[in-house]
Symmetry: C3
Subunit: 246 residues, 3 copies
């Protein structure tokens, strides 16, 4: 399975071009759109999101992960094997959390470029081809060079900021598995804990550990982002008996 | 074929997680995104939309239908067989119209929960698994218990309100097969009938019976929702020689 | 492979209905969503976009191309074979650029209509069926009549206007392969040339030849459409040593 994770936009003509390339190079593979609305150009938020999603996909899955504002500049492309899963994308930190949070991690730099390379769409021209070859079980050794370390590495701990806002207005935060008795506040407001939406009043705000293990701020049948003025990058304070993130 | 019908949003990372689960449990099945923009939390509008779409899909199709603001509370999950098609989703009225409008209807409560159940994403953890098993022809009897009646049932007649607005600004109404000589008004305005867009002037409003048999308000090359201030839930008045809906 | 290119909207329930039809008539074919956000009703912009994308798809590909504000009126449906690729859609100019820009072009009018034809969704009822038959290698001769000329033909040269704006705010222009030393201006501003985003300052505007060969106006890590007030239809001035488009 090839999983797409990008900031290319679900509605723009970029994803379709990638899928046409994948269909050419790996016709038998299932391709799944996980997310094409990673906050634009934000490889930091993307890295935390990708690391949270990864565990939900089977070992052997290949992630084509592209948030790449440096496309066309001398930044490298890389392949990461971590937790039994494969990741292909730019070396700008996006893949650094999945690399750091696993113990079986192996890294390769992509040394190959196609003859008809565009300057602005390596997701289609380079990363899709490499991902397709890995997915179909033909590891492209001749196009890669093993490396010891990524060029760009983000802190692999928690990121106590809003990293994604969904269409319901729910705000995802880059902090994992928060204890129920923690104090969570954002936008000057203390949020209460609830296991799910239907246990708080209509229009009431709360926090919960979401279905991929991240802290999430929400409003039952309402829009937390609008109600509390939350946006990607906002700091969220999380205090429990042992730790404070802020 | 598995058909997805939800309010999860086309652009958020929920649909991709469901598709990964379906690919694992029913790898040979075609999966079609019918609609992921059912008005948020609105199982009533969703029920009328789903019932209108159903006839366009072949018998044996399996609908994974999830508009589920009560996820994580004690509401049940159900399987409905109606009109030769299968439906899997929450027992909150969403499936009650397809159930009521067919004569071959059979109903089951889902008694199974997976070990790694999340509190907020039963679409992925429960409904996708059941839908996959039905689609691949292995009816999961041991995970179900036959029932006589759904817990939540909506009125199975017409719903004379706006139930969906598309990106053109066209407003769908939950009333079927309206005679051409009916009087249709909304937002204080009487709409004229036209068979299609190109038969009225540019910028002119009209109503028609749309491609799934529902009343639709539109503007030729314009945006009816903006022009007339229409939104989901607005009442539409429909009077013909035999009936008045309002 | 069947490639979808429409203004039906990625988030509305139209594309799913088309895919269900394709799955019925051409179950073994890969279907790729290239673009469902062609500017609404704008077959002129659509024609230039489609012609730019075509070369990136393999010969034998079948494009289902529908921007069809005249649906239900007497406008014809057509099949175009051009550059070794197939196109199915309305005869309103949308397919006229791919037809004019190739030398192997052949044209057919669609003479068949299904019994259960809707008045407003020929994309599903007519064009999808024809595209499916071509894709599965059974050319539907009995449903077609060869013609010499399309009813509606746009100028096959450059279109020096904004024809698409993506979610980053990048503005695509219908002019191909512009020399680096050309003078490009829009919204009263002269844009500088850059090969890609990362070579100009953060927030700085520039133009480049994009990954399908069209002129594109962008801002590094910013939104060109918002920064410069660009919208679809805006004139862009392009002057090089040999030609002026304006």
């Amino acid at each position: 399975m090839i999983i797409l994770f990008t900031d290319f936009g679900m509605c723009d003509p970029y994803v379709g071009q990638i899928k046409a390339r994948l269909a050419e190079y790996a016709p038998a593979q299932t391709v799944v759109d996980l997310l094409h609305e990673v906050p634009d150009y934000n490889s930091h938020a993307g890295a935390h999101l990708l690391a949270a999603f990864a565990a939900g996909f089977q070992p052997g899955s290949v992630f084509l992960a592209v948030v790449d504002p440096g496309v066309g500049t001398p930044r490298d492309g890389v392949v990461v094997m971590a937790g039994g899963r494969w990741y292909v994308g730019p070396d700008n930190g996006l893949l650094s959390l999945v690399a750091a949070r696993n113990t079986d991690t192996r890294l390769w730099r992509i040394t190959w470029l196609p003859d008809d390379l565009s300057r602005t769409f390596h997701g289609r021209d380079v990363f899709a081809v490499i991902a397709a070859e890995i997915a179909r079980g033909e590891f492209p050794e001749s196009k890669l060079s093993q490396i010891d370390k990524l060029e760009v590495e983000f802190d692999a701990g928690e990121l106590s900021r809003v990293i994604y806002i969904d269409h319901f207005g729910n705000a995802w935060v880059g902090v994992r598995n928060v204890p129920k008795d923690a104090q969570v506040s954002a936008a000057g407001k203390l949020f209460k804990y609830s296991e799910s939406f239907g246990f708080v009043g209509k229009g009431e705000g709360f926090w919960f550990n979401n279905s991929v293990g991240l802290l999430e701020l929400a409003v039952n049948r309402g829009n937390a982002a609008i109600s509390f003025g939350l946006k990607v990058g906002d700091v969220v304070q999380v205090k429990d008996s042992t730790t404070t993130f802020h």
